[in-house]
Amino acid sequence: MFLINCPWCGERDEEEFAYGGEAHIVRPKDPDALNDEEWADYLFMRKNTKGNYLERWNHAHGCRRWFNMQRNTATHEFGAVYKIGEKPPK
């Protein structure tokens, strides 16, 4: 069971959170300019990294706010927690 560190509420049980998948996928600025490959890439292709991964989480059964978090998908080690819109820490 994970203890996840919500930037607003502090450490809470995994069960309170919803998962939002890969972070920093930018919505196309000019959707009409995209071809089918670019749309497919935006909609469906994911890094799915084995190792350090930047992801979005939502404290769904708490403050209901979104945030970003770094997590190692091979070891379940947690890294930096940072807010939506912020750049990942180096």
Binding site: E15, G21, D36, L43, M45, N48, K50, A74, H76
Partner: protein
């Protein structure tokens, strides 16, 4: 030639105190070059190798497995086999697979212990009931056996289910596929391995692929923990690591990898002679020949490669199961485990050529690829041998994510097996 497994070989070997059995497959050193290298020695990879030899006469083939064959999802799944999928494309592929399963023990001369004991899908509310009836009709239109059962039918078939009016999950009916059932998962891997080996295919275990070599847009071989091996064609069949291995060739896939868990109870006397599934509460139950209750759960909702069981899922799973079948509430769990399932956005697999010449990918079978093992191997072997997909797997090509022709099987596959 391998000696044939039969009642006579059993008797003969019994006289020799079972010391005389020959090895089921060799463990050869890798050759410097093959016509085809298959990365991943799960059921799908081994079946692909077998059908390459049997159907296409291609035997200069190596199956390269980082651990031991069947040690991935093939040896971790709850072994449910069925073909009651909604869409035509899936129905054709999965039913072809089920038909191959029906003759597989004979074909491989290896008892895979297929038991067509029937698979029930429960309806717990009016919406479930309508959805299930729609499916049953769609499935029958595709010529696949499927029928609706009333609550009374379900109760008669599975007396231990709580079908009472005030149950936590009332049972309003169910669909039944009688040809569905279970098989011995290790047996499938071992049977294909033995039969592929008999046709000259090298099965190389404890050898991890660490890189895929290319010359421009053409594949030329693989780097492994036991050195470089050249190949004209390379096939990726690494469930749980499909996108990880594909990235070695610079490919980006529409796949995410999640843990899927299962667990077994202590063994008890026979109390359940079919498979019971409930998509709504994520519970799948059958009883193994050893008497254990085999129970599958839902996926963890975050990406992970750890193959670790998590308490949250076990707890949800047990809460659901003990409401459906109250007499299980005092059983102890003996083991719980997880496998990593690669899932596509439309919950359908990818069995496809890739933009790299000579490189093929078979993955994204998600939570339900054990039932697809023979069919997957058969169509993938065709795709590799002919360098073009068979009509059965053409709809499952990578291009569908660009064209938008997705095969949405969330209802049949996302949580169910």
């Amino acid at each position: 030639m391998k000696s044939k497994y039969s009642i006579f070989s059993l008797v003969r070997n019994a006289m020799g105190y079972h010391q005389g059995w020959e090895q089921a497959w060799r463990s050869p050193e890798p050759k410097p070059e093959y016509d085809v290298i298959i990365i991943g020695g799960g059921g799908h990879g081994l079946a692909t190798a077998y059908y390459l030899a049997k159907e296409h006469g291609i035997t200069n083939v190596a199956v390269i497995e980082k651990g031991w064959i069947g040690g991935g999802n093939t040896g971790r799944n709850t072994t449910i086999i069925r073909s009651n999928y909604l869409w035509d494309e899936s129905a054709r592929l999965y039913d072809m697979s089920l038909k191959l399963y029906e003759g597989l023990s004979q074909d491989l001369n290896f008892n895979i212990m297929l038991s067509q004991r029937g698979v029930l899908n429960l309806a717990h509310n009016l919406h479930d009931l309508r959805e299930i009836s729609r499916r049953v009709n769609a499935i029958r239109l595709n010529g696949i056996d499927s029928e609706m059962l009333s609550t009374a039918d379900v109760q008669a078939m599975v007396p231990i289910l709580d079908c009472s009016k005030n149950a936590r999950y009332p049972i309003l009916g169910a669909s039944l596929q009688k040809r569905g059932g279970v098989a011995r998962h290790d047996g499938v891997a071992w049977g294909y391995a033995r039969a592929a080996d008999a046709r000259g295919i090298d099965i190389i275990q404890k050898c991890e692929v660490t890189g895929i070599m290319r010359d421009g847009d053409t594949v030329t071989g693989v780097e492994t923990s036991r050195g470089t091996i050249k190949a004209k064609k390379v096939a990726i069949v690494t469930a749980g690591h499909t996108s990880h291995v594909a990235a070695m060739a610079g490919l980006r896939l529409p796949i995410e990898s999640f843990p899927l868990q299962a667990m077994v109870s202590e063994p008890i006397k026979p109390i359940l002679d079919c498979v019971v599934m409930s998509g709504a509460v994520h519970a799948y139950i059958s009883q193994s020949d050893r008497g254990e209750m085999v129970m599958g759960a839902g996926i963890d909702h975050f990406i992970s490669y750890t193959q670790k069981s998590t308490l949250a899922v076990v707890e949800q799973q047990m809460a659901a199961v003990t409401k459906l079948i109250p007499i299980l509430s005092r059983l102890r769990l003996m083991r719980q485990w997880a496998g990593i399932v690669d899932t596509c956005p439309d919950a359908s697999p990818i069995v496809s050529k890739t933009p790299v010449e000579g490189l093929y990918v078979n993955g994204g079978w998600g939570t339900g690829g054990f039932k697809g093992t023979p069919g997957s191997g058969w169509v993938f072997a065709h795709t590799i041998a002919q360098d073009r997909p068979h009509a059965l797997n053409a709809p499952f090509a990578l291009e569908r994510f660009t064209t938008g022709a997705l095969i949405d099987e969330h209802g049949a596959a996302a949580v169910a097996h």
